[in-house]
């Protein structure tokens, strides 16, 4: 008897964009897993060609409406590296604050609106609001605050406008910053309670040997720049990224898949960051992590959601520090530039983000190359599914398999628009 089954999970909801997973199973062994990202390709790298260097961040922001800030910051740094522009400390600090607000916003959205309904058993956050009004209110408050920071520093929450080559075009008033600081101080409690809430979720378990990859710096929890490090001892400078990270393309998906040269897939994102840079988290974040029973290295992929809440606590504290210390000088960017090539690695909410450009003599883009966090993770997601499906098949029915796979994919918070700027769950079982 041919015991071939096909499990097809079309449209994983509550992930941003469109994807499906197709799993082929024969006699309870998984023959193949195809993570199909069927969002149409968008060809950003091509249509950046010919545009001026000072438009690049503005255009690449439109790769993703959920993490536009990450693309803006990465594009600015890559172009600046290409054209030989150095920015002052204030610009770096404001960009970090902007990037942190982007991460808080994205994490809160994920934890409350995408993951919590799974664990609390609702189709969505709005339905959840009827039974958990306080939880949803808290989430809205945190997210709103993060957006206010983004808008105050960047001019607008979705697709910021004031961050620019060489510096900022507009600056927040002291009054606004003080208001944000007070709200951040008030938000501490909500953020801590979020960690406690999520720590009580009954997480599924998927532990397999895998490599975590994130940026790292000696004296800070890196998000803006740093060396590329891994749990298997990789230590690479930003400029050497392409020598270590390869990309391949599968016909079943519109996104590209990454692996480490001569090695396998790898995981980027909040779990990788917290695992690799735990010691650099501030005391508040470490304390809540300990209270939540989070021990590094935490190898259960599903716990990425808990790592997000720990990062929220961390970035709220860091934002308070920045705002307390900064004395804004309103200097508009002035710079001279020369043609050249440049690379930037940053930590987006979902993990490692790579932008690279070559700027020609006329000031226009001649080459562009972008690898998003979800593209970095896609191959690893497939490998995770290969590991978890056999376990669920024996124990549970197909519906359960689908549910666990969906939750697994969601634990990565895949950002599909991002991955196909140039990412479907179908499980095929033989039965």
């Amino acid at each position: 008897m041919n015991n071939k089954r096909e499990i097809n999970i079309r449209y994983i909801s509550r992930v941003e964009g469109q994807d499906s997973v197709l799993i082929n199973v024969r006699d309870n062994t998984v023959e193949s897993v195809l993570l199909n990202i069927f969002e149409p390709p968008r060809f950003f790298e091509r249509f950046l060609i010919g545009r001026r260097f000072d438009e690049v961040h503005y255009v690449t922001s439109r790769i993703c409406g959920i993490c536009p800030i990450a693309h803006v910051v990465a594009a600015l740094r890559a172009v600046e590296n290409a054209i030989g522009v150095e920015v002052d400390e204030q610009t770096k600090t404001l960009r970090k604050l902007l990037a942190m607000s982007g991460i808080i916003q994205s994490h809160v959205l994920h934890v409350f609106f995408l993951a919590a309904p799974d664990y609390l058993g609702y189709p969505d956050a709005i339905a959840m609001a009827n039974d958990y009004p306080e939880v949803v209110k808290k989430a809205f408050k945190l997210k709103k605050l993060a957006n206010e920071i983004s808008a105050t520093i960047g001019g607008r929450a979705v697709h910021p406008v004031s961050a620019s080559i060489g510096g900022f075009l507009s600056f927040p008033t002291e009054e606004k910053l003080m208001k944000l600081k007070n709200e951040l101080i008030e938000a501490r409690k909500d953020a801590e309670e979020t960690v406690k809430l999520v720590a009580r979720f009954s997480f599924s378990e998927l532990i397999r040997k895998q490599e975590f990859v994130a940026l790292s710096k000696p004296n800070e929890y890196a998000i803006y720049d740093g060396n590329l490090v891994s749990s298997e001892g990789l230590k690479v400078q930003e400029k050497d990224y392409r020598q270590y990270v390869e990309e391949h393309y599968f016909s079943h998906s519109n996104a590209k898949f990454s692996n480490l040269r001569n090695r396998s897939s790898f995981m980027v994102g909040p779990l990788a960051r917290v695992n690799l840079n735990y010691n650099l988290l501030n005391d508040e974040a470490k304390r809540v992590a300990e209270e939540a029973g989070f021990r590094v290295p935490e190898n259960n992929v599903f716990k990425a959601t808990l790592a997000r809440t720990i990062e929220v606590v961390h970035f709220i504290e860091e934002s308070i520090k920045i705002i307390s210390e900064i004395k804004i000088k309103e200097v508009k960017p002035t710079y001279s530039w020369k043609p050249g090539s440049g690379i930037a690695l940053t930590e987006a909410p979902r993990g490692l983000l790579y932008h690279s450009y070559k700027i020609g003599k006329s000031g226009s883009v001649e080459e562009a190359d972008i690898v998003t966090p979800t593209a970095h993770n896609a191959y690893n997601i497939e490998n995770d599914i290969k590991t978890i499906v056999p376990k669920t098949l024996i124990l549970k029915n197909e519906g359960e398999t689908k549910k666990v796979c969906e939750m697994l994919v969601r634990a990565y918070d895949p950002c599909i628009s991002c991955s196909v700027h140039f990412l479907n769950l179908n499980v095929e079982k033989d039965s």
Partner: protein
Amino acid sequence: MDNKVKVGIFKLTSCAGCQMVIVHLEDSLLEINKYVSFEYFKMATSKNEEMQPVDIALVEGAVTTSEEVEELKEIRKNSKVLVAIGSCATTGGIPAMKNDTSQVELEKYVYKNLIPLTSVKAYGLNEYVPVDAYLYGCPIEGDEFLQLMANLLAGISPRFPAPSVCKECKIRGNYCLLVQGKKACLGPITRAGCNALCPSNGYPCTGCRGPSLDSNPRSLREILLDKGYSQEEIKKLFKLFNSQVSEFVEV
């Protein structure tokens, strides 16, 4: 409960930024939820199954594949009111930038191994189906979304005034980026409604909301030529968000 107005939010080729503006409405979203039920909101719910008829379909994104053409027609067939949200859906927006390059060249550049992709030129929704209302911008304005919903719920057809961004800039008392800053600002020819967001933050308007009613791109072109911008630069600028808008392209 069951006579709530059914709303579907759909995504074609886009960055999801416009949906995010709606998600970011937070408290207002919960308020709206008293009157409407979101039947399709892929990003926020897991109850999306087969397409059931909705009262209001909000569609984000440009149409860039033959599958999307079919999907859009399906949405049109199953909705009473269809609203295009964001510059991608209204005119093709940023995704339409690819229209100038041949498909093969695009794919060659982005994907080393060429595989057949059913990607077509990118257009706004009205290229394929009748559209009842538009929300402009990249991204849309949250307030305009709320106004649209209030109007639709009250059975009023929504109207958004279309003077130029310049008018809002003057009301805000901004320094003029075009005259004083000598920067190529598209404020004079672009539809207001964003409260001159970009110029107010020191960034010239790039025309994301499309042409204002009295838009005169030819005249702006003359001004920019005078200021030393080349025809080529002006063309690129006009085409950033509006490569499918004839007034902007024909200059």
